[in-house]
Symmetry: C2
Subunit: 320 residues, 2 copies
């Protein structure tokens, strides 16, 4: 019986040929598969470029895991076309956690008045007291309930924040760590949210529809204590309107990992505003990506072993 | 039937006579009690001083909720002695959440390299990339598993941090939001933790035993990326050793809401170290205390209504 089970362990190859990351190997082994050569593999974890992807794969390979969340380049290189009978998965969602952690950091830093604290060189307790806030009992609206938004909700919930998730369909957002009292609002009703929220986190894709989603009107309806966090794309926020709102104290502050223009040029007013926290699009730095990818691989290998549906399936016909 | 139930709603008085806070009233009503005069009350929520506490209470009053976590002053004023048949509860634990949120903010700000980001006035992405860390997969040791420590664990868990809780007994720390994989280490084995943790949060009481618990030896066994957060009392950390470790990069940084000496004098080297975040003991500012107390009151009134054991019971014989 034990032998039968061990014979059924699928073999996973990691390619291209290079000293494979121990993190990845650990993830594969931990998920109940073994690691072997491509020639005898049931699946391939690919950590190389689209250009280096094998022209042919052994007939035994049923699944390929790609290393990127956006797979336009693999599409352009004809990788899916060349292997029509193989199931491909991307890394979509794998990197959401780091960006969500970054968004939480910017929001907490703002609410707890850290920028002013960091500038201080004397003990200004009485002066700072009224400015130190909390997320407890506050409403945080997350615009965009994709990977990042869904990863952020479980971080906000234990802080006692009430979450409004804005998504296209308005369908309730559910998932592990997402409490039942999350309110979901469809994008077309976003207008009624601004005056009912304490803070806003932008985590929606950049499209023609979402361009300058946050402008002067929206900022005016927020509170003088509100923080706006953008970890999506700079184009979603009207930078000129934001600079004006920050300078006049219309809102409490802004935490921006993305800007428009990007990179933010030297001398731009955002650099000097005391209530702006700028991080140079580094919420998902290279050294965190591998660990996150290993987690994603481990979870998908476990599904492959159990013959369950894989996460982040690519539909070659639709191109994503 | 409805009438019978409504007759059984206990009456809660809020005193001393003053326009009672709406937050408190809401908490009492939301917990299923009604608000009434002290003369007809089953319980008293006291938000005044020990000196103003009534010398006599109506025989109907079975429970008194006090507004402070430490109740030495009520003890000294003879309040418990004067009312031997009344059950008293303190606000112990009520204010832990705000301090835990503050500790999380300091830790995330450190790990995500916010101090250096806030000093920047140009787009230094490549330079910052290697310094942006994550709590995911990291070990955070919380020294002291009292109210603050227990409130912090549920905030760290969804970030993917592994938590080591250090308490006197070494008994497993359990409770709502505290995952089963939290490791508990008794204080006498704290020595073996330093070289096995990524970060340390100090949340233990100040006693003769905990004085300078973190000194040069302990800091030397941490990592160059480790952050030390102190939200307890300044005396638990040897300031001179910490300044040295921060200046030489022995650890990554320190987030201090409490210092020794406190207040930290102007010109102290901690003000100028780029890897120190100082907040002037403002992790639980006055305006957050009332909201936290209202939550505590609501939960205790709900227990009173349901005839369940009250939280933060005071034992007058032991004086706390």
């Amino acid at each position: 019986m034990t032998q039968e089970v061990s014979v059924q362990e699928p073999t996973i190859a990691i390619g291209p040929d290079q000293p494979a990351s121990r993190l990845l190997e650990k993830a594969v082994l931990g998920a109940g598969a073994r690691i072997g050569a491509l020639a005898e593999a049931d699946a391939l974890i690919w950590i190389g470029t689209p250009g280096d992807f094998p022209r042919t794969l052994p007939g035994s390979v049923r699944w390929v895991q790609l290393p990127a969340a956006g797979i336009e380049d693999f599409f352009a290189a004809g990788v899916f076309e060349a292997h029509p009978s193989v199931t491909f998965t991307s890394a979509a969602g794998a990197f959401a956690h780091s960006v969500a952690e970054h968004a939480l950091t910017l929001l907490l830093a703002g609410v707890r008045y850290l920028p002013e604290h960091l500038r201080a060189s004397s003990w200004r307790q009485r002066e700072f007291f009224p400015h130190v806030g909390s997320l407890r009992g506050k409403t945080v609206t997350i615009v965009g309930a994709g990977g990042i938004g869904r990863a952020l909700i479980p971080l906000l919930a234990p802080l006692g924040a009430h979450v409004i998730a804005v998504n296209r369909s308005g369908r309730p957002v559910t998932g592990p760590g997402i409490p039942g009292d999350v309110e979901t609002v469809p994008t077309e009703q976003l207008g009624r949210v601004w005056s009912h929220t304490d803070h806003v986190v932008i985590a929606a894709p950049a499209t023609a529809q979402t361009r300058h989603l946050v402008g002067a009107d929206e900022l005016a309806r927020l509170k003088p204590s509100s923080w706006v966090i953008n970890v999506a794309r700079g184009s979603l926020v009207d930078t000129a309107a934001l600079v004006d709102a920050l300078a006049r104290g219309v809102i409490g502050g802004a935490g921006l990992d993305v800007t428009e223009p990007e990179p933010l040029p030297d001398g731009h007013p955002l650099w000097d505003l005391p209530n702006a926290i700028i991080t140079p699009h580094d919420s998902n730095p290279p050294q965190l990506r591998l660990a996150a990818f290993a987690d994603h691989v481990g979870a998908n290998v476990a599904r492959f072993v159990a013959d369950e549906p894989l996460a982040a399936l690519i539909d070659p016909a639709r191109g994503y």
